[in-house]
């Protein structure tokens, strides 16, 4: 370690440590005063070990022989402690079916660094994490604090275990228990369900014969007036989507992405030419030598949490990685113990485009970019150069105003030398001699081009993508960029120089910090640095990862995506996304009437996926059309979307605005508090499902889960546990929808199989995965015994034919299917899995899209952007700095998550979220460390304790996410006259989203959203603060 460093302790931030041991110290003094003696206590199980759990198995340290504890079993499944969804190994007490503790699955790359090969016998896997030959020290496979604490969800007193129907008004927290069958009947058939008048049931909404609005036929059939929403894919979305899209046939489905990380994902999608799925990548931590983390903090949070944390920890201690964390708040990634190898640089929230463009400007100006790589114009040229991919840096963008293909890349057809859309219609580039030529003809092309090109219809002005990027970067001076982002110009130059000095082993990453008003272009600009460095798709660079084994498509054993009578959804999303305003009837009517079609009544976003941030508020306001019913699965947008509660909660209370709201959930949260019905769902460890990998996992993998403990909620009349799956199965069967019930799943043998229980679907998905590519071997008795699989075997036997049972058991005995780690890397600095599409220095889909509010084209390259409102006004013109001097930002907790507050063991460590305030801002407001302060925003107010330090950017106020709940146990509910929940500690703290606000420049109500993506804005909310005198 570098002994020359001189660091002083500044402050002890509220984390578990200081408090807790001190609390342990104070306790006995009190007891001594009261004269309590040891004899008064409860005798523990063992005099020395106390009430410690009995070991799950024993390993003889000499022979390595492993002996299972007959009173326990360990089973492999998925953790729901956060959205990383790690593979874990769970200890269960065989005598009382209690879950005892969880730890990582050694086969699983999200839990173990260098996962075990799948062909390892399970008994050897259990040995590999033991003390035998100290294997477990290097073979560690872990569960984090959240994952450990999550087991309390299963037995939580706040858990919803019965079907609930509201009594009294929406949101009044009064419920009655009803049977599952009554719930299904009422939800399907409607009627005067609450004594408030007629409620339209799902049967009536399921109307494919009539259009929502014949004047606007693009809205599609009335069946689109059902909205399905879920938190995220916890491995069960396939059943939800099967019901929604293909059985019921609604177009409308949304998940938490638009208030999670969508602005980042779309910026990444633009760079990766994947705006359909918004793929992203992660650094190859093992081999990277320098990393810039901007608005992301591996080891503090982020997905995959443990994998990134582990790899970062190793890379900075025993490996070769140096890194800089650029973030408004100091976080765990900036490691004091690692000395000079890590560094934190504070930045103003929402100003990341300025920093990115400054970096781009410096790299281009100093020719510090991967020239040879960027000059490659095509895949054949990349292959010839030994590169796995290429960019469009040299492709030529049509610039001529009014040209029908303005903003697209110049092709042979544009100069009359090929038919448009034909195979021969190649892209044109300028070769190294300055000659215009088809891209296939050259190995390298000119990077910077600005010229006229002759065509039969006259000259066309073109610029290369890289020229356009340079032009965008040079729109402002470094000094302007520095002023915008609050990082000194000289420091930006030093960072750029350092980044460049590592060449192709320098990598940049970003994520949730991009949920700002400028997030799309910020993410696009930040990730552009990977293209300039030439580190995308390289070892030590930006790696897309191995993806997943898909079991729920048309697989080798069963077709789980197609079925007789399957529908395809029609019409446009209620969120007005993936559809250009210019194609709408509204636009055409305005144009026909000679009106200026802009602005549209509310934003239409042709590039954005369906977004929950617009779906609810637009569906309630009825633009473009009304939503009549919502089915929400674990979704909690009112907690998660900045300003949504202020914007719609009152409207949601009135059934006239939304006729029916059914929630499927194990808990009552801030959103389903307003539900009409709650269907009790299985929770972690009780569910079936398959989850894929996050980027950053270099090998292909799919995690499997099955009910390793019996679900504890109500059963259906047929004896199946009520769950999301049973809700959709029963609803579909009652409505007579295809794809559910008997004869629902086509087999490879030509027969149709039933979908009457969850396992009918998931075990067949398991068969598809087990038979993908090389079929997995059969599990043996030892595998089954050591993976606690006995309870599953009878279900496998009653569902699958004999030939599929062995491979399926082999899969479940290891918790999924995992590619061998040896496939992570190839020779010549190449990765085992790479991104094949052309990487975009300029994205023509973006560059030709039009802002529906201003009528202006979007920029196809990143550029400086300032925070704007929906109508294009600058946020600072609407909310000037002298009235709202600070910008609030949120950061992920390294312990808590947005739905974990009910877990005592996490509250015990992190009970509250004091807000981060810079020393100088505090002094200016007369605020001292620990003072109570009032935070006001245009949409709300909150009270908090101020944690004053230099560990936050000046002008910013940091709020740790996951606190400030009003539900999940915080408020009391009345169920059949009985009071449940209501723990005031669960409601402690501040939720930044309560400081969000409705965008005052909108005509259709909606929160303040990022323009391109429609993502919720939580980074850079204008606020003011004042001290509250105690």
């Amino acid at each position: 370690m570098d002994k020359s460093r001189r660091r002083m302790l500044k402050g002890a931030v509220a984390a578990g440590g200081a408090a807790t041991f001190a609390a342990g110290y104070s306790g006995p003094l009190v007891k001594m005063a009261k004269g309590v003696t040891g004899s008064a206590g409860e005798k523990p199980h063992h005099a020395i070990y106390g009430n410690a759990l009995a070991p799950e198995y024993r390993v003889d340290l000499n022979s390595g022989e492993l002996t299972l504890n007959p009173d326990q079993r360990t089973a492999f499944t998925i953790c729901y402690g956060c959205t990383t969804k790690c593979g874990v190994r769970v200890r269960i007490d065989n005598n009382n079916e209690q879950v005892l503790r969880s730890i990582g699955n050694p086969y699983h790359p999200l839990s173990a660094d260098v996962q075990l090969p799948m062909n390892t016998p399970v008994v050897d896997a259990l040995k590999s994490v033991s003390a035998y030959h100290e294997q477990g020290l290097n073979g560690r496979s872990t569960t984090c604090a959240r994952g450990n604490a999550m087991i309390a969800q299963i037995t939580s007193p706040d858990r919803v275990t019965h079907c609930l129907k509201r009594v009294g008004g929406r949101g009044e927290r009064m419920w009655e228990r009803i049977s599952f069958e009554q719930l299904i009947e009422e939800v399907c058939e409607g009627g005067d369900l609450f004594g408030e008048g007629q409620v339209e049931g799902l049967r009536s909404i399921h109307n494919h014969d009539e259009l929502i609005d014949p004047e606007n036929p693009e809205f599609g059939p009335k069946a689109n007036q059902l909205l399905l929403m879920e938190a995220t894919d916890y491995g069960r979305s396939a059943v939800l989507k099967r019901f929604g899209f293909n059985a019921f046939g609604t177009r409308n489905y949304g998940h938490h992405g638009s208030y999670c990380g969508l602005a980042f994902r779309m910026g990444s999608g633009a760079l990766m030419d994947d705006l359909a799925k918004n793929a992203h990548a992660k650094p190859d931590y093992n081999k990277a030598q320098f990393a810039l983390f901007i608005g992301t903090a591996p080891s503090q949070a982020g997905n995959p949490f443990k994998r990134q944390g582990r790899l970062l920890a190793e890379a900075r201690s025993t490996g070769s990685l140096d890194y800089i964390v650029v973030d408004p708040g100091l976080n765990a990634a900036a490691s004091e113990a690692s000395g000079e190898r890590s560094r934190w640089v504070p930045i103003l929230p929402g100003s990341d485009t300025a920093f990115a463009m400054a970096m781009i400007q410096w790299l281009i100006e100093h020719e510090a970019y991967a020239k040879d790589y960027l000059a490659i114009p095509s895949q054949p040229a990349a292959d010839a150069a030994g590169e796995v991919g290429h960019t469009n840096a040299t492709h030529l963008v049509i610039e001529s105003e009014g040209h029908p293909r303005q903003g697209h890349f110049l092709r042979l057809s544009d100069i009359g030398e090929a038919d448009a859309n034909s195979d021969t219609d190649d892209l044109l580039v300028v070769d190294l001699n300055g000659v215009l030529t088809p891209s296939a003809g050259v190995q390298k092309a000119t990077l910077f081009v600005e010229r006229e090109v002759e065509s039969p219809d006259g000259n066309i002005r073109v610029k290369s993508s890289l020229s356009k990027l340079r032009e965008a970067a040079n729109e402002h001076s470094l000094a302007t960029y520095a002023e915008q982002c609050g990082i000194e110009a000289e420091l930006i130059q030093r960072i750029a120089k350092r980044f460049a000095s590592y060449g192709r082993r320098a990598v940049v990453d970003t994520h949730g910090g991009m949920m700002s008003a400028t997030g799309f272009y910020a993410a696009y600009g930040i990730l552009m640095l990977n293209l300039l460095a030439g580190s995308f798709n390289r070892q030590g660079g930006y790696a897309v990862g191995g993806g997943k084994f898909n079991g729920t498509g048309n697989g080798p054993r069963y077709d789980l995506s197609g079925f007789p009578g399957k529908r395809g959804p029609k019409g446009i999303f209620v969120s007005r996304s993936r559809f250009a305003y210019e194609d709408s009837s509204e636009y055409k009517r305005k144009v026909a009437a000679g009106e200026n079609p802009y602005p549209a009544k509310a934003p239409w976003r042709s590039l954005a996926p369906p977004i929950l941030t617009e779906q609810l508020s637009s569906g309630i306001d009825g633009y473009p059309y009304k939503i009549k019913a919502v089915i929400g699965c674990m979704a909690n947008p009112l907690y998660g979307q900045a300003g949504l509660t202020t914007t719609i909660a009152d409207k949601l209370k009135d059934p006239a605005n939304l006729g029916l709201y059914v929630s499927v959930d194990g808990f009552i949260n801030e959103t389903n508090r307003y539900a009409d019905y709650i269907v009790p769902d299985s929770v972690m460890y009780e569910v079936w499902g398959f989850t894929g990998a996050w980027s950053g996992t270099l090998t292909k993998m799919t995690t499997a889960c099955w009910p390793i403990v019996e679900p504890r909620q109500q059963k259906t009349a047929d004896g199946e546990p009520v769950s999301m799956e049973m809700f959709f199965i029963a609803t579909a069967k009652r409505l007579g929808l295809p794809g559910f019930g008997d004869n629902a799943i086509p087999g490879a043998d030509g027969k149709l199989y039933p979908l009457n229980r969850a396992e009918d679907f998931y075990l067949r998905a398991a068969a598809n995965i087990a038979h993908s590519g090389e079929t997995l071997p059969n599990a043996n008795d030892s595998d089954i015994r050591h993976s606690g699989l006995e309870p599953l075997m009878s279900k496998i036997e009653r569902t699958l034919p004999a030939s599929e049972r062995g491979p399926v058991a082999y899969l479940y005995a290891r918790g999924g299917r995992f590619e061998d780690h040896s496939n992570a890397y190839k020779d010549n600095d190449q990765l085992g899995h790479v991104w094949k599409k052309t990487l975009c220095v300029y994205n023509p889909n973006v560059g030709t899209a039009i802002n529906s509010q201003t009528g202006e084209r979007l920029s196809g390259t990143p550029r400086l952007q300032k925070a704007e409102m929906s109508n294009g006004q600058l946020m600072r013109d609407v909310y000037p700095e002298d009235e709202w001097p600070l910008l609030a930002f949120s950061y992920k907790s390294n312990v808590m998550n947005s739905y974990a507050i009910g877990l005592e063991r996490l509250r015990m460590i992190k009970p509250y979220n004091p807000v981060l305030l810079h020393t100088e801002d505090a002094a200016r407001h007369g605020i001292a460390f620990g003072d109570t302060i009032r935070i006001e925003s245009p949409g709300g107010a909150a009270t908090a304790l101020a944690l004053v330090s230099d560990g936050v950017m000046k002008g910013a106020l940091g709020i740790e996410h996951s606190f400030g709940h009003t539900e999940l146990g915080a408020s009391a509910h009345d169920i059949d006259g009985e009071k449940v929940s209501g723990n005031e500690w669960v409601g402690a703290g501040v939720n930044i989203n309560d400081l969000g606000f409705a965008d005052p420049t909108r005509k259709v109500s909606g929160t303040w959203l990022e323009g391109v993506s429609g993502a919720s804005i939580r980074q850079g909310l204008p606020i003011r603060i004042s001290r509250i005198d105690a």
Binding site: K3, I48, I909
Partner: protein, 258 residues
């Protein structure tokens, strides 16, 4: 501000000349100073822990897995990770410092001689344990420990602390905190075995290792790698905020205070 939420500063110090490593060669049962004779445990072993702070990410996986494994009462901890903000003097750069804490299983444990009933004792493998059958809950040991590593378990009314998960070591398994350490920072092992991972690491990093409060002459056997020498002084530090505001700004206090 809650005055009992004290910070740990001042408990840290640089290990001088590897002094704490010396007693490894001593006979386990011989005792040091006024230490009673060691009993039980495997005399051929001496367990210790090395924590590479560069690899600690502060995730508290150890804290919670230990808490569950050992049925620790809410609000008490056998191990926990303290998190600090640190400022660099010459550059003003800020960083985060993580400090995992647990019983040091000292070579010269001050908690043992003070026990009036010899419930607290040191095993021959170095692990300091409490015999709850003997313990009367007088808390002398709790007060004697300079590391605040002990507490009175409200359920058993006896002294409670980290056992290095002796019940798991004995079964050939790793302690909960070690097997769940996400960053791979915690290494436990037999320091008498020259081939063990911990012996190898101690050998490699001997001059860099530090222990907590070496001046107390407790000879801690939990060693830290990546500890900053500036921690040997007692700089001023603000404690964390442990007040809790609930709904309507009501001060709630710590939920799990005893």
């Amino acid at each position: 501000m809650d005055h009992i939420r004290r910070s740990l500063l001042g408990q840290l110090a640089r290990l001088s000349a590897g002094a704490a490593l010396v007693p490894l060669s001593s006979v386990a049962s011989a005792g040091i100073n006024d230490q009673p004779a060691r009993r039980e445990g495997d005399p051929s072993k001496r367990y210790g822990m090395l924590i590479d702070l560069r690899q600690c990410i502060g995730c508290q996986a150890c804290t919670v897995s230990c808490h569950i494994e050992n049925d620790v009462p809410m609000g008490n901890f056998r191990t926990v990770v303290s998190q600090f903000e640190v400022q660099q003097q010459d550059t003003d750069n800020m960083a985060t410092f993580m400090l995992p804490r647990l019983c040091n299983h000292c070579e010269n444990p001050p908690c043992v001689p003070v026990c009036p009933v010899q419930a607290t004792f040191q095993r021959q493998d170095g692990i300091v344990v409490v015999d709850s059958d003997r313990c009367v809950g007088c808390a002398y040991c709790v007060n004697a420990c300079p590391y605040d590593a002990r507490f009175i378990n409200e359920k058993t009314q006896t002294a409670d602390k980290c056992t290095f998960c002796a019940h798991r070591l004995e079964a050939g398994l790793l302690p909960a905190c070690v097997e769940s350490c996400v960053g791979g920072a915690r290494v436990i092992g037999d320091m008498r075995d020259p081939d063990s991972e911990i012996s190898r690491l101690i050998d490699k990093h001997r001059d860099e290792l530090m222990v907590l409060q070496p001046e107390m002459n407790t000879l801690p056997q939990v060693f830290y790698l990546g500890m900053d020498e500036r921690f040997t002084t007692k700089p001023e530090a603000e404690p964390g905020i442990w007040d809790i505001l609930g709904t309507n700004d009501k001060e709630l206090g710590y939920e799990f205070d005893h």
